[in-house]
Symmetry: C2
Subunit: 482 residues, 2 copies
């Protein structure tokens, strides 16, 4: 389950994690029907979950709900133009479904829903309505591919929200489902606050709607209280009760939204609800990027083949700007420190082999790895040790010159490990072959001027430079000011 | 496992979740030894995990590592003064242990460690060193209560980092542990990258160090690859092999750091590593606040009795400022939207009974609940519906006046639900009893002046006011601009 980030996740791991043999897996069954050994090179890795026919970790689908759950985020007020921009971006990314706010919520929502249905996206379009005939009648006229109905089944919601009993809920569900199906449209039935609902009530209504042919049933942790093993147990139990697909929706109030999604898939769920950077009611739901981080660590081939991961950062920037928030510093994959390693601690190992301290390859998402030596505060000792690793022979004085250049460049733009390596190599070549190639190839004239200025500054202040380097070698930036 | 946020989590839930009967629980065993029924009022809630003697969910300890793991965060450069400030804040909060960077890392680290040991805090002080006699000799002289040793056991780290084999690792561990114990100091032995290590190697070395009397063994998900059920399986297996305490350390690269901590406790782990807002290598580890969110949903009494939760926000602000990051918008408990509900969707239910859509009571952390009607964009319809809920009879015109006042006040400071309620009540009393009480009691003269100005503005622009309200009633802020 924990393959090397850069390794091929197909061979040993792909087989051994067994999740390729999902309950709906044609490939999985094929392997067995043809009598092939599904574990040809199985290695002794005890933390590799034993092959599990229940798991859909390698065949999950995404229901992207930025335009529904995300609209309930405190700061979200999307106009039609923004909704269309987000829908197109999600479609390009490759999400399976895009879920929209109920057309019954307002005339504006209805018109926006119609407009998005007319875009002809590859992603299927869903809308999310109350389990009520009035809403269903409006929804089926919008052109959506599917309708998601929801009703609260917990005692909390039955008492304080809609006030209906289970018989009423069941009868209404049957009426709405039959109506939507009669229009040839996909239909999902979900309970709300499922983890505080009575299990017998839940299984009873899910079994009923499964029998009349609902496409999916949904489980929703509306208040964010569920824990991973509870999720696994409920989904596994439900998997034995219904034959339709199972969708799961997890809020993140207690920090388990990604883990719960993963455990739900392990237990046989088929669809996971996400939103971009997790926006939604309160602190939100399973984030699209966070789910990608989790799933790529489990099955890199499936995730890479299905989703255009290099688009993730742009989508996140788009939505963050629209709802006027910053990407959290510690955001999965795209946060500024997601692939930053501090020199002197892990740097040697990470430079030798990134898999030692990374489970995700940043390049899969078009991101870069940063090791802290390539920064304004880097010391020449760090550069010397990197040069040695690269088999480049520089004297101490030459290392100091090269360090000054890296610092000057790092002041102008962030320097990734690869950049630092190529600067060291070019610096060396320039020295020994009397060349004068630019250390970074694509600097603009403005950037070049800035670098020259910085270099002059550093060279003109030998004392400050010595101090900076001494300080940087011990890494405390704040002390430099003191 | 999902009690109402405001409910008493002691009775039914406290018993039924069974985690009060941890493996080291005196109370748990007492209940059984005296023959009492441990489930006196057990209710049929199928998602309540069945009573489990393994679980330490109700008796976990925190090893707070902001001053060790947190120092490895890209932006962290703590000077001694800042370290002492953070240590004191963590001590006040009530963490069980504070872990510090190795005194072998630099002379500065050694002196800082000594200084913190001399503070006389209630929290025990640990330092975290490589499994090496040189480091151990330095550590035991600093005055720490305990030493945490760590060595990489995965093939990745053995090959690319330290290059040692398991026999060497075991022999060194025994030497270091015996030495530290001989000084009367607590000792923990941890593997690094445990989830990519060979299970037989792991169990073998843990069993050896347990027999020679180590206080704790540690499991570390150094690369953030572990999933909750893997964690549960490994910790449960280890629980059967060692009799000492079990500490767990989880990175958050794939979004499972909080969930993994929870599952580790369910499986019998005793100590969880945290850092404030999760800072650490790459995107960090289990955040202190996020763990509190998870644990208070599981056992509110234990968490509230042990930790001064109302200090959480101050500690987070302190550390965020020190490492120059913003608190993420979606941070657990303290993020700006953690307790924000949007009017018209959940507002009625949340006002009736907050437990319908909240699993955590914000007041436990000194935080407030916000419902979106109490904002600059609120419409008078929302205020009218709230007044009706409060049994306060206002005409439409009076509601509009009251709304203008709430908007003016909301421009000056954020208005929580309680504030809005008290404003409506005071407004009504002022009307009907010819009183003139201030709508918000503790406004400064400057704030009063601002409110008066805003009110004049709103009253002077009847058209703009009408437009704002019409727009606000449909909630799209952006459209107001268009």
């Amino acid at each position: 389950m924990c393959p090397p980030a850069e390794g091929n996740n197909n061979g040993v791991n792909g087989h051994a994690n067994g999740s390729a043999n999902g309950v709906m897996s044609h490939e999985g069954f094929t392997a067995i029907e043809t009598g092939q050994n599904p574990h040809p090179q199985r290695q002794r890795n005890p933390y590799q979950p034993v092959g599990d026919f229940l798991s859909n970790v390698s065949r999950f689908k995404i229901i992207e709900s930025t335009l529904r759950e995300g609209e309930q985020f405190a700061n979200a007020f999307f106009d039609r133009e923004k909704k269309i921009e987000i829908a197109k971006a999600l479609d390009e990314f490759g999400v399976d479904y895009i879920e929209l706010t109920s057309p019954a919520a307002s005339e504006q929502s209805r018109l926006d829903c119609e407009a998005i249905c007319k875009l002809g996206l590859k992603s299927k379009i869903l809308t999310h309505i109350r389990c009520h005939m009035d809403d269903a009648r409006i929804a089926v006229e919008t052109g959506v591919d599917g309708v998601d109905v929801v009703i609260g089944t917990s005692s909390y919601l039955r008492e304080h929200s809609h006030g209906k009993d289970m018989t009423y809920i069941t009868n209404t569900a049957i009426e709405v489902i039959n109506f939507v199906k009669s229009k040839g449209i996909e239909i999902r039935f979900s309970s709300e606050d499922s983890f505080r609902s009575d299990l017998v009530d839940l299984l009873s209504i899910y079994s009923t709607v499964d029998k009349i042919g609902v496409n999916r049933v949904g489980i929703a942790d509306t208040v964010g209280c569920a824990s991973p093993r509870q999720v696994y147990d409920l989904v596994r139990t439900l998997r034995g009760v219904v034959s339709c697909d199972i969708e799961c929706h997890f809020h993140n109030d207690t920090g388990c939204a990604i883990a719960n999604a993963y455990c739900a898939l392990e237990a046989g769920a088929t669809h996971i609800d996400t939103s971009v950077i997790g926006i939604g009611e309160r602190n939100g739901i399973t984030p699209l990027g966070g789910l990608m981080a989790r799933m790529i660590a489990a099955d890199r081939d499936y995730v890479k083949s299905k989703y255009r991961l290099e688009k993730l950062k742009d989508i996140e920037d788009l939505v963050a700007a629209a709802v006027e928030v910053n990407i959290p510093f510690n955001n999965y994959i795209t946060g500024f420190c997601a692939f930053t390693h501090k020199a002197g601690i892990h740097a040697k190992a990470i430079l030798n082999n990134p898999s030692t301290y990374e489970i995700i390859n940043p390049a899969d998402f078009g991101m870069s790895r940063y090791v802290h030596f390539a920064s304004r505060l880097t010391g020449w000792n760090a550069i010397k040790s990197r040069a040695t690793q690269l088999n480049i022979n520089l004297t101490d004085e030459q290392c100091k010159q090269c360090t000054a250049k890296i610092k000057a460049l790092a002041d102008v733009r962030p320097i990734a490990v690869d950049d630092a390596d190529s600067i060291i190599r070019t610096f060396y070549r320039n020295l020994h072959h009397a060349e004068n190639k630019p250390l970074l190839p694509d600097l603009t004239p403005e950037e070049k001027a800035k670098v020259a200025e910085k270099e002059k500054e550093l060279n003109g202040q030998p004392e400050k430079r010595a101090l900076d380097e001494a300080v940087a070698d011990q890494a405390p930036a704040k002390k430099a000011k003191a």
